[in-house]
Amino acid sequence: MTLDEFVAKFAEEFDETPAEEFKAETVFKDLDEWGSLTALSIISMVDEEYDKRVTGADFRSVSTIEELYNLVESK
């Protein structure tokens, strides 16, 4: 999956935030909609797309969508 595709998949998990607000450099934890439900959805998305587990520690270790992408790709 390319970075752009990952950003698009990431954006799809949000219902309120407009898709155009999601960029590779977006600090996702600053989004109003970021919370337990969206975190769960991202975990499920990564599981479905990559068959990989993202943990709470992973979320804490990154701040932008690109950093999360790189972390997932490296797993």
């Binding site: 919370g35 337990s36 975190a39 769960l40 959805s41 975990i43 998305m45 709470g56 520690a57 979320f59």
Partner: protein, 252 residues
Amino acid sequence: MAYNPFSLEGKTILITGASSGIGRGIAVECSKIGAKLVISGRNEKRLQDTLSQLQGEGHLALQADLSTQEGVDALVEQCPPINGFVPCAGIPKMQSVKHINRNDLEEIVWINQEVPILLTTELLKKKKLQKKSSIVFIASLSGIFVANMGESLYSTTKAAISGFAKGAALELAAQGTRVNTICPGLVPTSILEMSNEVFSEEQLMESTKGKYPLRRLGRPEDMAYAAIYLLSDASDWVTGINMKVDGGYSLL
């Protein structure tokens, strides 16, 4: 002997999921108040740890893998006659509604819902449950009293168990057997597991702060004392109830 209407002297109690958490807590406290325990769990070593914590003599540990029907049947086969049954084996599952898939659904329904029901049925068919027995299911606040983000699957199974308990309570009343559930609030033994490691323990503690009027999270002993009441003759006229043990969480 001192007056104690909650004594479990002379009663043999089967507890599944006794190798950790709430199951272990209930087993240990029941042994302290006189019960003979038949404990089962998947992990042999942790089950032996629980066995070593039990007070008194004559307890039995039965390693059981309840992920299959064969495992369920084998446990019932090995089980001696009992006066109480507390199925505690269960799994959490954090999943948003739009990501539910059939595998996750089938897995949690099997462990949390079908296994306790099938064990009850088999224990009855094989005449392992004596007359005037007590069955205590571990349900949850979730699905019966409240809802929490990401817990729709878990809630489904716990609400189902509550429904089954009422039906069984009605049918088994003729033989004096009582069927009730305990609905725990958050007990931190399972806190990290429940969260699927999405959040740190500190974050979860922070997020639950102020939500428990009695100002702490639950302990396995809190559930054990409720189980002792429901297993003892003190609750001889109590059947078909969902007993909340939640520090007041559901009041808010």
